[in-house]
């Protein structure tokens, strides 16, 4: 690129009397991106990302206080988050006085940038924030409190697991020992630690020459901030659009630490990267730069974001109505791009149209999920036109009522073709794409409470759903190493049009219509809306929950089936449906 300024310029910015070393690359006329490094790094950890971004951004890095060429504060008090947040604003004001800057941060850089981003009015100075491996300590305080107040097994396990990951934080509170460890050899061993534990290839010039001092000074970050913030967290909200990049193999920050982050950050975009804590920056710089570029290119100034080509990609089968449509809408509302398919193309197109009202891109296709070749072709088409999906919801299904002997061979085939083979085709086609891509994903399969609730009138339907339940269990085990989650959803009685299209064995047309109307009325009276199922599906994806019974009856049946399977077997004889 001719005329581009790719050399690094150095300047010093004063922040409350402390000199910060600032490094600039790229054309100052381009959007400014400020990269904030973590512990025990200095600005050089960003070398690859900065070089890539400098092509079309004004890239600014600085050594945070106490590290690299920046000044070293005299007391522990001077490492408080408030001052660290002000450092970021001071740099932003110096390098881009007229326009808000985009902030990208890692590890402790992320912790201190959260402080700036959640400062009231931050949106005037910060256009967007991309965060990796560093939570807001206040959010973390609330995260811990919430789990202590509701100590479910899942919550307790999260607390214990995150506690185990944070062993070094406790160690850092110890006087003498931690600084001594760095001075006596850890700094020298650091390249090996990065190579063996973090899958980072050693390179000349990294880590920085000042590593030992930086690491020792940086210990004060933990000592000055961890305890007060986690013990007495403050409510910290932000209007700034935030992109959270979860590093899947991070040894220090668990992915579940960001559960419920939407409470504080309404404009949140989640991305995942198959990387370790440091390999993200040191090995996958261009990938990180691409994610940052995607995010900074969005029009964050608009009240609602323009349809974006970034964001999570979600595929929903049977998206023309009911739970499928509600799920597509819920994902669109959460900022995801949505692809819906249905046998009824106009219905699918309508869903896409409604999704776009949320300001995201959506597309619709006609697909019969019982046709394996068609699903394969659809998956390929989605991959070509939109990319590999992050979430696939295998929702398409049909209802059928009839006892085993009443159900004809054709009826059996039809039910199994759509309800079971549809899910198999979906999981195969998209599961393969996700595995090949290698950055994880999530499959959601819609089973039913009938999967574990036998009923003589639902022989074919319950069989198909039970098979979906089991196939999901097997698939979950298989895909776990690939970081692809599988959720089985068991809705129960939900007011959708599945009842209006449910077929009944051995009924003529008039009797069928009457029966459909009767069952629809019953389901309508139950009044459980598909939107609530959609909300559960979103939660299942976010929390990677394996099995989700949704309605009360679905939960009760599951519990009863565990307490007394014999009772459910008896109940199956009841003439219902």
């Amino acid at each position: 690129m001719t005329g581009r300024r790719t050399d690094t310029r150095r300047r010093t910015v004063d922040s409350g009397g402390l000199a910060l070393a600032v490094y600039e690359q790229g054309d100052p006329a381009d959007p400014t991106v400020v990269l904030v490094h973590g512990y025990p790094d200095d600005h050089s950890v960003w070398d690859d990302v900065a070089a890539d971004l400098a092509a079309d951004h004004h890239v600014v890095r600085y050594d945070t206080r106490g590290s690299g060429a920046s000044g070293v504060p005299a007391t522990r008090e001077d490492y408080r988050l408030e001052l660290l947040g002000e450092d970021l604003f001071a740099v932003a004001d110096a390098v881009s006085p007229d326009r808000p800057v985009h902030v990208v941060a890692h590890d402790w850089g992320s912790v201190q940038s959260w402080e700036a981003v959640t400062t009231p009015g931050a949106y005037r100075r910060i256009a967007s924030y991309t965060t990796m491996s560093g939570p807001c300590l206040d959010h973390m305080g609330y995260w811990i409190r919430h789990r202590l107040r509701r100590p479910t097994p899942r919550h307790l396990s999260q607390l214990l697991r995150q506690g185990a990951h944070s062993w070094y934080i406790a160690l850092f509170q110890l006087p003498v020992l931690a600084p001594a460890a760095w001075k006596l050899g850890l700094a020298r061993l650091w390249p090996r630690v990065l190579r063996d534990l973090e899958a980072v290839r050693p390179r000349p010039g990294h880590p920085q020459a000042t590593l030992a001092e930086d690491a020792v000074h940086g210990i004060e970050l933990y000592r000055a901030n961890m305890r007060p913030r986690v013990r007495a967290p403050r409510e910290r909200h932000t209007e700034v659009p935030v992109q959270l990049i979860t590093l899947q193999r991070d040894h220090y920050v668990s992915d579940f630490l960001s559960e419920g982050l939407e409470r504080w950050v309404p404009r949140l975009t989640r991305r995942t990267l198959n990387a370790t804590h440091w390999s993200a920056l040191l090995e996958q710089g261009p990938t990180v730069a691409a994610l940052v570029r995607d995010f900074t290119a969005r029009d964050h100034g608009a009240a609602r974001q323009e349809p974006s080509t970034a964001g999570e990609l979600v595929v929903v089968t049977g998206g023309g109505s009911g739970i499928g449509r509600a799920t597509a809408l819920a994902f669109a509302d959460a900022g995801a791009r949505v692809v819906v398919c249905d046998r009824d193309l106009p219905a699918a197109q309508r869903t896409a149209e409604l999704c776009e009202l949320s300001g995201t891109k959506a597309a619709a296709y006609r697909v019969d999920v019982s046709d394996g070749a068609a699903v394969d072709a659809f998956a390929q088409q989605v991959a070509t036109e939109h990319g590999v999906p992050d979430v696939v919801v295998n929702n398409a299904g049909i209802g059928h009522s009839g006892t085993f002997l009443q159900t004809t061979e054709d009826e059996w085939r039809r039910v199994l073709d759509v309800n079971l083979w549809g899910v198999i085709h979906g999981c195969r086609a998209f599961g393969r794409l996700m595995v090949d891509r290698g950055t994880g994903g999530h499959l959601v399969n819609l089973a039913s409470a009938a999967a574990y609730l036998p009923a003589k009138q639902l022989a074919a339907y319950a069989t198909s759903k039970s098979a979906v339940f089991m196939l999901s269990d097997c698939l979950r085990a298989e895909l776990a190493p690939h970081r692809i989650g599988v959720s089985t959803i068991c809705p129960g009685i939900v007011n959708t049009n599945i009842t209006r299209t449910t077929t009944f064995s051995g009924l003529d047309d008039d009797a069928l219509a009457a029966k459909q109307a009767k069952v629809s009325k019953l389901y309508a009276r139950r009044g459980f809306p598909p939107e609530k199922v959609a909300a559960e599906i979103l939660r299942a994806v976010r929390t990677r929950k394996p099995v989700v019974p949704v309605t009360f009856e679905a939960k009760a049946a599951r519990l009863l089936g565990r307490l007394s399977p014999a009772l459910l077997r008896k109940a199956a004889r009841i003439n219902a449906g």
């Binding site: 009240a303 109505s321 449509r325 809408l329 219905a347 309508r350 869903t351 149209e353 409604l354 009202l357 049009n497």
Partner: protein, 277 residues
């Protein structure tokens, strides 16, 4: 089945009152701006109608702003009355009034928005489908309950929900007759004019005796062919926090049915959109 009770002169009078109502609603819509409350909007609407010569109301004027246009969180009938909700940029609103002039009643609904609202735009465009659908079904002399079910099915296909089910009795419409009661004009009880209540009560008894209902909903009482006469029809559709409706008079004769007037704001808007397309 009663015979169609009105002559051309009556229909012209009904049309005139309906025009007057929509004209006032348009005036208020032009006056409305961010910062105005629902109560202020209804007061302005009432002022406007009284200035145009209205002495009595079938029911008091209503104004709903924001998510109240979709009747979200409505639990008691009192919530239908205009409140202190303040209009802000991008909000939808609905104005509803029912003036009576010389016993001739109109009952209209007018939907609008201030600033940009993409959801409202789509709903407003789709509302035409319901106007066409209702007319088609009534012309086919389908039982009113079936027409109601057809509207519900269309709503499901569109992905919207049925907001008229929140109205008392879940009605999509009601019969309108010439008001001949003698009670005091301009006095109202629970939002309905005293004369209205008298007429409505009498109609209700008379129609019930005939096995019909002057109220049009989805239940058993509406399982009969459309009664000849005038019906104020108000399909009210909603998506999330945005609701929109029209309400206007449908003329049902012994063999046919038609909308009393096609020169109304929403119909003109659709015509303009079609021309532009």
């Amino acid at each position: 089945m009663p015979r169609f009770p009105y002559d051309e002169r009556d229909l012209a009078k009904f049309r005139e009152v309906q025009q007057l109502s929509y004209h006032c609603a348009e005036q208020v819509a032009a006056w409305i701006e961010p910062g105005v409350t629902e109560r202020q909007a209804t007061a302005e609407l009432r002022r406007c109608l009284v200035k145009a010569g209205v002495q009595d109301f079938f029911h008091v004027p209503f104004a709903w702003f924001g998510d109240r246009t979709a009747f979200r969180h409505f639990h008691t009938p009192l919530q239908f009355f205009a409140g202190s909700r303040v209009l802000t940029e991008g909000m939808p609103y609905v104005l509803d009034c029912a003036p009576v002039v010389d016993g001739y009643t109109a009952d209209i609904g007018y939907g609008g928005k201030v600033g940009e609202n993409a959801v409202w735009d789509l709903l407003a465009k789709d509302l035409k489908t319901y106007r066409d659908l209702i007319l088609r079904e009534v012309r086919a002399r389908k039982p009113l309950a079936e027409v109601y079910a057809a509207v519900d099915a269309q709503l499901a296909a569109h992905g919207y929900d049925n907001r008229h089910q929140v109205y008392p009795g879940r009605v999509i419409g009601h019969q309108v007759t010439r008001n001949t009661a003698r009670g005091p004009a301009g006095v109202n009880l629970f939002g309905f004019g005293v004369r209205t209540l008298q007429t409505l009560g009498r109609e209700l008894v008379k129609e019930r005796l005939e096995g019909r209902s002057p109220l049009w909903a989805g239940g058993r009482a509406s399982r009969h062919a459309p009664t000849p006469g005038l019906w104020a029809v108000e399909p009210h559709i909603g998506f999330r926090d945005v609701g929109i409706k029209f309400e206007e008079l449908l003329v049902v004769t012994d063999e046919d049915a038609y909308w009393l007037d096609d020169d109304l704001p929403h119909v003109r808007r659709w015509a303009l959109q079609e021309d532009a397309a």
